[in-house]
Amino acid sequence: MATQQAPSGTKQNGSNGASRGPVTQGGRNWKDAPEHYSETPDWKDGTTKFLGWFSVGLGLAELLAPRQVAKLVGIEDEDEHVGTLRTFGIREIAAGVGLLTRPKPTYWLWSRVGGDAIDLAFLGRRMRDETENNNNAKLLAATLAVLGVTALDIMQGAKLTSEKLPAQGHDEGSFQLSPGDDGTVHLAAQITVGRPVAEVYEFWKDLGNLPRFMGHLESVRMTGAGRSHWKAKAPAGLTAEWDAETIEDRPNEYIAWHSLEHEAVDNLGSVTFVQAPGDRGTEVHLEMEYHPRGGAVGAKLANMFKKIPQAALSADLKRFKQMMELGEITLSDPTAAKGMQPGQPPKQGDLKD
């Protein structure tokens, strides 16, 4: 039901605004929502899985049978290096587990490369050390094998690094949307409001109401004939202005608007209203998309809109819900004040207007 992330590598139902996915059809009922909602694509290809199991296998061998492993790679005096090999074993197992369990194990692959470097240095020393009576042919074979694995590690590491998905370690369950290849920023948020659909639709239809709860908008004026003039706030007191038109308006179901062709910022917004289950009221599903258009101005504006995170849009919708259910936005002492404020009454001059 909600919109998926848009990783650049995977297929989408078309990436231009008008015919993208189920949202733009509007009038969705929660009963039509897909049964299984998958947020993170499965990352592991065969090579990564192989490297993971290889690490675990090698690690176990080094940990549990270090003497045999030493003999195998050509080290004559097995007992001398038992401790070192066991340590290598623990490192390998850790890397293997990381590779097999993390959805996008970029750092684990690079850590394998580090481990490979240590292995190569170790084998190199054994070859050069005259006091040890090592089998250099076997050592050389082992070194070549490690070099081969290193090459694989570097290849996979580079591949995962270049993919534009959240890095390993990030919570896979949350929406962390990063710009697509062309710098598109796509945000989605939703809220359930305890008011009838018609009332919620009427309020939203006048886009001039949006700045009352949307933090990044300074003003929106309906200028007639389905047109509107938007003014947004940017950091350091800058503003951006553009004209937009309402491209679709299905009463009590769906409203979509799009900035005009010639504008420097390409902003597509849509809101869908759905009857919530039971007596919960109305579900409001909001989507905003920003494409930068060419030129220096476009790039600057694109940067500005990249800074409107998912959470800010969610917070906007919470304020919208307060407006509809309470008639005003709930304030606490810090949120009523300009700037940073502890949990104590602000001084008179510090209150926001």
Partner: protein, 393 residues
């Protein structure tokens, strides 16, 4: 005005700060007459709650007189004497209408912060970190109270502050803890944590018809107070094995319901305790759950574990296997105070209970930091401290 402000872990200071203002049209300003220090305030004091800022005013148990009303306030008038429930609730959202006021959907302006930690945000709370709204607390001379027609309860003049103050938090919390046990005739209830909340839970369990109430703590003076509150048996866990004792006291069945009135700073002797403490000191784990683990493991098959001790984040080694395989029910939540205030006030008026029994110390607001100190160290047989404005040192 004077207010008790958080200036870092274990560092409180009573400072002069601006007076509160009406910010929303349903606000009132209260002149605080009495306020109290809560066990959960100690988690703020000891630095276990994230999102505290220097200068935050603490305190969520307070009462007083209305001195100013917002333009849309209809029920309350200047001069009314009220007790204020600690969760801030609008009264019109879905959860408020269901009576779950500590889950109000509209009262936390910083909901997005709480969402990061918990998935969804609960209601805003007075004086309990920015994650829950950053509202100024009531350990002060004045307090701003939002949604004034829905929250505060008018109290009759013939009941002194000491008799009604605890309707703000700890009496309803203890009562809800007992209520969540689903007490049936013949039930044996065990309560971990014999602080004031545990004492109210014990008293409430008896009011609700428990056959036998077993109280568990390590301080003899708290076990004595538990007995006064109505406990039939007390167990000092530093002297007796709780697991053995509970088996004996229940003929091998275990308690029918277990109440955790301890929360995240659970104290445990032995290795488990050290493990939890070490991890907590590194902030790798917020919450210590020694008491909760024991409550779960000892609970009778098919029983209920009622959690009213406050937790904030994540804990290790949760016995989910014991819960699942033995059909345990876990019921929990920050107390939905609003729905209990009137019924419990009536019990007080009928003489069924006098909540002032928990008070051990009365101090001036100016001495609040010292109060926190003796409360957290359980010195001077400290049980519940009431702070008075308008009282000198």
């Amino acid at each position: 005005m004077r207010a008790n402000c958080w200036e870092g872990a274990k560092h409180l200071k009573v400072e002069t700060v601006p007076d509160p203002k009406i910010l929303n049209s349903h606000d009132v300003i209260i002149k605080v007459s009495s306020t109290a220090i809560c066990g959960s305030d100690l988690h703020l004091f000891n630095g276990f709650m994230p999102t505290m800022e220097h200068g935050d005013i603490l305190g969520h148990e307070f009462m007083g007189e209305v001195v100013e009303t917002g333009k849309n306030v209809k029920k309350l008038k200047v001069g009314d004497r009220v007790v204020v429930p600690f969760p801030i609730a609008c009264g019109v959202c879905y959860n408020c209408k269901k009576g779950m006021t500590s889950l109000c959907e509209n009262s936390n302006p910083n909901a997005h912060i709480a969402e990061q930690m918990m998935g969804h945000s609960p209601a805003g709370v007075f004086g309990y970190s920015h994650m829950l709204g950053g509202f100024a607390g009531g350990q002060a001379e004045f307090a701003r109270v939002p949604f004034a027609d829905f929250g505060p309860l008018k109290v009759p003049d013939e009941l002194s502050d000491e008799k009604v103050l605890f309707l703000t938090d700890i009496f309803p919390t203890g009562y809800m803890g007992a209520e969540m046990c689903g007490i049936k005739p013949g039930d044996v209830i065990a309560v971990w944590g014999c602080g004031p909340v545990g004492q109210f839970a014990i008293a409430s369990a008896k009011l609700l018809g428990a056959e036998r109430v077993i109280a568990i703590d390590r301080f003899p003076y708290r076990l004595e107070r538990a007995r006064t509150a109505g406990a039939d048996v007390t167990i000092n866990y530093e002297e007796t094995s709780v697991i053995e004792a509970l088996k004996e006291l229940t003929g091998g069945r275990g308690p029918d319901a277990c109440i955790d009135a301890v929360g995240l700073e659970s104290h445990a002797p032995g290795v488990h305790g050290l493990y939890d403490k070490a991890k907590q000191s590194m902030r790798w784990e917020n919450d210590r759950i020694a008491a909760l683990r024991q409550a779960i493991m000892t609970c009778a098959n098919g029983g209920t574990v009622s959690i009213i001790g406050v937790y904030s984040g994540f804990a290790d080694k949760f016995p989910i296997g014991s819960v699942m395989n033995r059909s345990l029910t876990i019921r929990t939540g920050q107390c939905h105070v609003h729905r209990y205030m009137q019924p419990l006030l009536e019990r007080i008026q009928k003489g069924e209970i006098d909540p002032s029994f928990v008070i051990s110390h009365t101090m001036s607001l100016e001495d609040a930091p010292a109060g926190f100190d003796i409360f957290t160290h359980k010195e001077d047989e400290c049980n519940k401290i009431v702070l008075k404005t308008g009282m000198t040192h």
